[in-house]
Symmetry: C3
Subunit: 345 residues, 3 copies
């Protein structure tokens, strides 16, 4: 994508308290201090990288008020309150260029049932399918090849990207972003062994995603046996995450990539789950709990507790045990020496 900003435009977005230096370069890219080239804007987001500022090739550098230094030739220093936030404002502007608002309406190649309700300002992209009784809210964008099953409800200002599947009778809140390949509402994994065969336990519940939820590419959230699988307002879920049936996740949680939450487990609010963690079924994870990456959780976690390991333990204990395990060779040696002494004795 070609973006191009003049220094004046950059200044209008980043609102510098002070501008030092001058450049003739239009700004066409963003880069980190070390990799930036002329024509790029960069920023000092963390004072530990301060030493990299003088050598940066960027044409514009966003710097905090306490930075001391002068720009190079054909380079501008913009002194801003918070360089990282200023950059995010610029990125938001670029995001609007990267993802321009699509025109409202239903693409002629989409298959929309007569009984579906499509808000006038919604965009139904090419080759989407919206089944009977489904509802798509105002300004919501179904990008391409999206499937919204019978009776499902998708709220306002959502963005369902290419290939997303929302199965029948599910509910998606407002301002929800579902990345490509997300599957909402596949059957929960439930069987009863009868006469040597796994008989399917019907999964007739639903999935409810709160407002401002975001779900990463190819993640899956299963419908419940009955009642609902729920994800609370503002919770963000990364790629390839599996949420089992009847799981209830609170508000403002973060679930990193490849996490798995087994059936009927409950997470409170503001829970953070590191990448590749597995949480067993029927557990309670208290609000504010944190689970370090790659952990396997098989017990409840109290609120505001950080755990690590497999099976997970309170963080400090697991760190101590990890260190002691690394000292096993020494311990075996010490015990051997004690035995030698004792043998002599």
């Amino acid at each position: 994508m070609q973006v191009s900003f003049t220094l004046a435009e950059i200044s209008a977005i980043t609102l510098p308290a002070r501008t030092v230096g001058a450049t003739t370069e239009p700004i066409r890219g963003i880069a980190s201090l070390g990799t930036a080239q002329p024509g790029d804007i960069t920023f000092l987001g963390n004072n530990k990288y301060k030493a990299s500022v003088p050598a940066t090739q960027a044409s514009v550098v966003l710097l905090p008020p306490d930075y001391v230094g002068t720009p190079g030739p054909n380079q501008v220093h913009l002194i801003v309150e918070n360089p990282s936030a200023a950059l995010s404002r610029l990125c938001s502007r670029i995001e609007q260029a990267l993802w321009p608002k699509p025109k409202a309406g239903v693409h002629p190649s989409a298959v929309v049932a007569k009984g579906a309700r499509i808000a006038p300002s919604a965009t139904i992209g090419p080759l989407c399918v919206v089944e009977d009784g489904a509802s798509v809210g105002e300004r919501t964008y179904l990008q391409s090849g999206v499937f919204v099953g019978r009776g499902s409800f998708v709220g306002e200002d959502c963005w369902l990207m290419a290939g997303v599947v929302v199965s029948a009778e599910c509910t998606v809140g407002k301002r929800v972003r579902l990345h490509p390949g997300v599957v909402i509402g596949a059957d929960g994994f439930g069987y009863e062994l009868a006469k040597g065969r796994h008989e399917k336990v019907p999964q007739v519940g639903t999935v409810v995603l709160g407002d401002d939820v975001e779900v990463g590419a190819n993640s899956t959230i299963d419908r419940s046996r009955f009642e609902k699988t729920a994800v609370g307002e503002g919770t963000k879920i990364d790629n390839l995450v599996q949420i089992g049936h009847n799981v209830v996740i609170g508000s403002h949680c973060l679930l990193c990539g490849q996490v798995g939450i087994a059936g009927s487990t409950t997470l409170g609010d503001y829970v953070v789950v590191g990448g590749q963690c597995g949480v067993a079924g029927h557990l309670n994870v208290g609000s504010g709990a944190m689970i370090a990456a790659h952990s396997g959780v098989k017990d409840d976690i109290p609120a505001k507790t950080t755990v690590w390991g497999s099976p997970s333990l309170p963080l400090l204990l697991e760190q101590k045990l990890t260190i002691l395990r690394n000292r096993l060779p020494e311990l075996f040696k010490r015990v051997g020496e004690l035995e030698k002494k004792a043998g002599k004795g």
Copy 2:
């Protein structure tokens, strides 16, 4: 979805031995004892929740013969042989409403090759693609955006949900359910390093799924190098599971979410693999073996053996080692004290 059952309809489905009490509420939902509201049916599936029955707000409660207690006002107790099974019968009825049988025929937006064989009672949903030489059996339902590649065979009474991909020359048995985003028959992961480059080893085998197999959303089962990757009759696979090339899985196994089975490994019958387990390649896992969640398996597992851990060990041993690891701080202290004594001695 709106469901509504009268008490008479509920009774006709759940076949109570005894009915106690009366209600004027139509039944519109199913809920657990603690969350049920008037208008809901609930059940006592496990006697440990017995104490929650008197306080439930449900209008109808399915209870086992040995339950002692009386219904509240406007509440009915239905005494049934097996409350959980009775509820499942009700759920099956709801399932039929949730997933009504689609009309037979090919949606006009589907792209079906002339050389494909579609059974007259099959349903090919919108925007599906069936390539040349592929075959779709009687009463099978391709929901939406399903791809069935050249020469593949899909049996009778299957359900391939939105976005499923069955690559060329694969075989799907009868009554198979593939959830959204499942990929059957992508290339196995095989390369040979030659002159510093990974040269692709062609993967020209196939995938064969037995009857009554179910595969969860976004799971992937790779085609073999040659011969076949096989999943036996009645085996159930959860979401985001990866089955490598030339893997052979027996009948009636359960593979939970995010499991990975590396290439050429063989599982017997009735194997249960817990969530997020990884099984290395070229191994044999005996029939009836169980692998506890989050385990990493790098050795063969004898039949009827339960293992746990990474690398996995027999369950009781791993449990013992886990406990002893937790006692390492104590052990280090004890050894330190012995050394003090020995030093004195």
Copy 3:
């Protein structure tokens, strides 16, 4: 798929130094020594299976020059320099039959924007979407239901299989193979907590895949915050792998199934990552490093180092610690006996 080769055709492909015996069977399948039937070709790829050669039912057996033995009745031994390589040449021939070159052109059901550039020799399969400003190179094949977003570039001789998503402004090199369900360019997972809510950090970077990259089914590679997420030339990625934003992967790496690489981590060249490994963010993994399966990496790895475990350690150390952990019951017993002795003393 029906393949059929005469012995003369097999010989022309495998170029045997010597042919022993004769068969009247046309060759219709490939199988391993133990499972081959008449009509199959098999091979001795590893001398440890030498004892299985005399009993094989295969009609044709590829054997190395040093093999001593005679064919059975109606069986042929083909003595070749490298039986595995000879078989691969045969498989390549079968692969061409399995995946015949599609006809160039745009399927009438595809939705191609006017501003998209489709090379004349490219094939755009049914129900694909190519957005404005996107570019598809010569001889590249978009199989079915593929999405190529606005401004993306797909090079020559690529194969994007059913349901692949290449989001806007991404770059795919030459001879790249993306298996079904791959998602390139979903947003990276970045938020900043502000007033109790996770505010999205815009992800306006891109993804760049080098030449000869292969990505397995349902894997996901996120776009960067800015700059690019990059996968180097010749790197091969298995199924259900997650590559976070701003990750930079070198050339000729192998990433096995269900691996996760968290944001901003860098891998050198020829790195091998075993199945289900997780690598934390902002790390450096040196060229030639190997990470054994199921490991959790939270520290940098020097070049040419092999690590294992969670948290991972150098392989030999982790192997030693694993053995010593297994000896904990013995150690506790030995310490107990020392204490008994010391108590007596």
